[in-house]
Symmetry: C2
Subunit: 103 residues, 2 copies
């Protein structure tokens, strides 16, 4: 739980998660959106991976990062519950999810 909030406490990392919401992206593609060095980005990815908010997958030369939505959801839910708040998945009517994963 602390790890998740720690991860979320950095704007760059929050933005990374936001970008991944639309679908998986490579480390390089993600890095293009920020004005910091690749190694710095790599460190941010590591923090997010530690918190289990993202997962990585080797794809040829690249590394694809996926958002772990369920972890984000559950962390927020678990925390919110204590304060009498409900976290639920917003129903986006007609939202087509372009998700490359199998099935």
């Amino acid at each position: 739980m602390s790890r998740v909030f720690k991860a979320l406490s950095d704007p760059t990392r929050r933005r990374v998660l936001e970008l991944l919401r639309e679908g998986p992206l490579s480390a390089g593609e993600l890095a293009e959106h920020f004005n910091v060095s690749k190694p710095t980005m790599s460190a941010h990815f590591a923090v997010l991976r530690e918190a289990d908010l993202i997962t990585s997958e080797k794809r040829g030369k690249s590394v694809l990062y996926h958002l772990n939505m369920s972890v984000l959801e559950e962390a927020l839910m678990g925390f919110a519950e204590v304060f009498g708040l409900d976290v639920s998945v917003k129903t986006r009517i007609g939202a087509a999810h372009r998700d490359g994963a199998s099935s």
Copy 2:
């Protein structure tokens, strides 16, 4: 936003908020629940105040701390929205809210 998540990234501070959920408590009363020195607790209070998650009120010799529920709510809402999540106030049927604030 970063300030809120940073504040939430420490378990002691999360627990302080949780304790304040039941109603205002003095610095000393709060400190009793933890195994750290008073000055350390005072520093934690400062972080929470910076994030506007709590407010302080002088009451005689003591300082009363109040939870700023609306700020917590709005921060969580604002963040969750980006990820297609809804945060709402849990309806606690029959919950008498002992809260002096007007409407």
